[in-house]
């Protein structure tokens, strides 16, 4: 029976061939339109010009691209979409999906290489700019997208994949770029071209071995030390505070909670300078100990999430333990903490990762003691005006080196992070 295949959506089937035909029509519409010069070339025109060039000047491989990228996908889509009229099978619809995907990809690629190929082959008399692309091209792009969506819907594939893919590409782009730059051989911050001419591992080598100005490995060690110590101290403080507030109704409890709320509303830098002077008075400036103290000092304010979790542990457990002769300390160490693994991991994760990314406090406390810098501060210094020319690519290498461990940590413990956050949101 017509259109009655279980895995196809018959509502969209008739539209597929329409888009296929439309696509071929687009080839005849003006692809490039330059008003001032009066040039109007359609896709087919371009193909003809290219063939002409090939015949007169011999084969020029780049120019082949124009032909294949314009004509081949369009023809493919036409073939497959037309065949959906006759062969109502899942495989054909899938093939037309693929054909349309190729169309979309070639439209994007055309966008990217038009300037290069057209300028090089001198088919046009002027330099090419994207704004010269005209209705033929844009209709090609739009029709192929619509065709893709329609055939996906007909094949009962969720067209949301298109959005997901494009968004993922957009989000990963900067990261991929940093990775690429970290392997670039040419130093210097701003180049007049995009793709590196040479790739090398030199940046990593210099970063890790050259300690004359920036001692990267030591920064790494510094930050590791600071992160570990502040992580331990913070976790202890947060757990103690949260347990006390959750379990014990002592006098001044409400007052403490309100105080914590109020203190949390002050911007952190208000106390930055004051803390610096206090530490100076105690003789601790430009030292990593000062940094550790600053990071973990105010930790008591961050009890909210852990306390919320402790609140969900039934008090009946505590009371059973009291009957068995335990005191509150035993309950804390032997019952509450083992039961709270997710939220403890969350706290450890957060307090370990944040010193890696902090810049403000490190800047204020360290001043210009390069050796005692943390990685964040060091990387920032690499990009200031004095250093950027020489250190740009090393900055990229450093950025990669610092991102990888944190990314791994994050991905491994992603589950706990989400649990902790949604726990706080649910209240």
């Amino acid at each position: 029976m017509k259109g009655h295949v279980a895995q196809l959506n018959p509502k969209y089937m008739p539209y597929i061939p329409i888009f296929g035909v439309f696509l071929v029509i687009c080839l005849f519409l003006p692809y490039i339109f330059i008003q001032n010069e009066g040039i109007s070339k359609s896709g087919i025109n371009l193909v003809m010009d290219t063939l002409h060039l090939m015949r007169s000047e011999g084969a020029n491989s780049k120019v082949y691209l124009v032909i294949s990228l314009l004509v081949v996908p369009a023809v493919l889509s036409l073939v497959f979409s037309l065949s959906t009229i006759f062969i109502k099978r899942k495989q054909i619809v899938h093939l037309s999906c693929i054909a349309f995907v190729i169309c979309v990809i070639s439209a994007i690629v055309l966008l990217l290489i038009s300037k290069k190929t057209l300028d090089a082959s001198e088919i046009l008399s002027v330099k090419f700019l994207i704004k010269y692309l005209s209705i033929g091209y844009w209709m090609f792009m739009i029709v192929s997208l619509l065709g893709l969506i329609t055939s996906m819907k007909a094949a009962k594939i969720n067209p949301g994949y298109i959005v997901l893919t494009s968004m993922s590409a957009l989000w990963l782009l900067p990261l991929a770029w940093v990775l690429m730059i970290s392997f670039r051989a040419e130093i210097g911050s701003f180049t007049s071209y995009f793709w590196p001419k040479e790739f090398t591992l030199d940046n990593y080598k210099v970063l890790l071995t050259d300690t004359s100005q920036f001692y990267f490995a030591k920064w790494y060690a510094n930050t590791l030390l600071v992160a570990t110590c502040s992580c331990i101290i913070t976790t202890i403080i947060v757990l103690s505070t949260a347990y006390t507030l959750s379990r014990i109704r002592f006098k001044g409890r409400r007052a403490f909670m309100n105080l914590a709320l109020v203190l949390g509303m002050f911007p952190p830098f208000m106390s930055m300078i004051a803390v610096y002077y206090i530490l100076k008075g105690l003789g601790f400036t430009q030292s990593l100990v000062a940094l550790i103290l600053v990071y973990s000092g105010g930790a008591a304010l961050g009890y909210y999430i852990v306390k919320g979790f402790f609140d969900t542990i039934p008090k009946a457990l505590d009371e059973a333990a009291y009957i068995d002769g335990a005191n509150k300390w035993h309950v804390f160490t032997r019952i509450t903490i083992p039961l709270s693994k997710p939220v403890i991991i969350f706290t450890i994760l957060i307090s370990f990762i944040s010193p890696w990314g902090d810049f403000i406090f490190a800047r204020v406390i360290m001043g210009d003691n390069y050796d005692n810098y943390t990685v964040a501060l060091g990387l920032f210094t690499m990009l200031d005006r004095a250093n950027i020319a020489a250190w740009y690519t090393k900055f990229a290498a450093g950025a990669v080196l610092i991102s990888i461990p944190i990314a791994i940590l994050f991905i491994c413990f992603q589950k706990y992070y989400v649990e902790g956050l949604s726990g706080s949101v649910k209240g």
């Binding site: 202890i236 911007p267 990314g357």
Partner: protein
Amino acid sequence: MRSDRKVNRLLGYGKVFREGDGLTKISFFIMGLSNLCRGQIVKGLLYLILEISFIAYFIKFGFTNLIGLVTLGTQEQSKVFNKVTGIFDFTQGDNSMFMLLAGVTTLFVIAFFAIVWHASINSALITQKLKKMGKNIPGIGDDIMSLFDSNIHKLLLFIPIVGLILFTIVPLVYMILMAFTNYNQSHQPPGHLFTWVGLENFRIMLMSKDTIAHTFWPVLGWTMIWAVFSTFTCYFMGMFLAMLINMKGIRFKGIWRTVFVMTMAVPAFVSLLVLRVVLAPQGALNVLLQELGFISNSLPFFTDVMWARVTVIAVNLWVGLPSSMLITTGILMNIPSELYESAKIDGAGPVKSFMKITWPYMFFVTTPYLITTFIFNINNFNAIYFLTGGGPATLEYFKGAGKTDLLVTWLYSLTVNSWDYCYAATIGIMIFAISATLSLIVYRRSGAYRNEEGFQ
């Protein structure tokens, strides 16, 4: 009610005085006497030592510090021409900043001692009553044991509170007080003194015709606009993405989520610095676009005011989308799917089921998160500083404030670049006022605050 409690406390001291016998009465003045005489030797000695050290401290430093707090220095550093050596001699003047700090420290020491005194009075009365009733008086060993049980809050909260006081409260009080002085660029110790000016800074910043007032209100306005846009773009895009990944037909949900989580796993400042370089006038993006033929001149991402503002919001969306997506995903998964199925049976389309099922639930649950994020964005130093440094700079604004400066970044530049600490402190207090108002609205409304006991 509150005044009743205060009166009760005063009456309390009077009551203790009357109820106490001779020893307890004397303990009001010589701390620890009651404990010593009734058998709590270690405890009594501790109280006594504390009292003696406090009196010593007060005589040696405390008194001068308090006076210094009030005057903030009377003698400026001056130079006297020394005829013998032929150069100017500098006589050491008062350092206003140290005096302020010392004064604040002394205030806290006094407060600390008051608490200790209060504890010693109570302890004196308790030991007296215990002795009268013939009960056992706890020795120091028993006291330590109780630290692990009935008094465990004292043990567990000791270090947190010490850390809090040292690193949060004292600096904060110090900075708040600084807002009432004129500690700015022209009054830098040790060369110059600064002094109390009361509410003058607030008046200048809010109501005068000075440049600084012309800076404050626009910066405040931009801060609010920025907070609204950055919060809501991240929120809605995150929700959209979460719903997209959560849709039925999408496979490999975990992989899609991990892709976005990876951008979150890279430390924010790294991504921001990278993007700053990428979007610079000769940065990678502009070069790429020119190479491809999109544009002939660089796009002014950071140099034009409107462009800069839109760019920071867009970049913040890039940075903040993954965490918003994670949170909404967690919540979305809690909505029972039966609701959607029954809605489908009733003929509801995707839009309707979103408006009637997803959105009300989501909004209700994430309201505290929204407001927390809003307040976070008001103070979002990193997102602005690493991208634009607050720029583009303009002459209309006071000393180095730029068109994308938030209140916090302006505070930072006032502190670090132009040393106008008093103005920085004033701004800090304003930020606090705004955040406090918003937070109070949230926490009063949110069920968690009210239903805390409900869980138990």
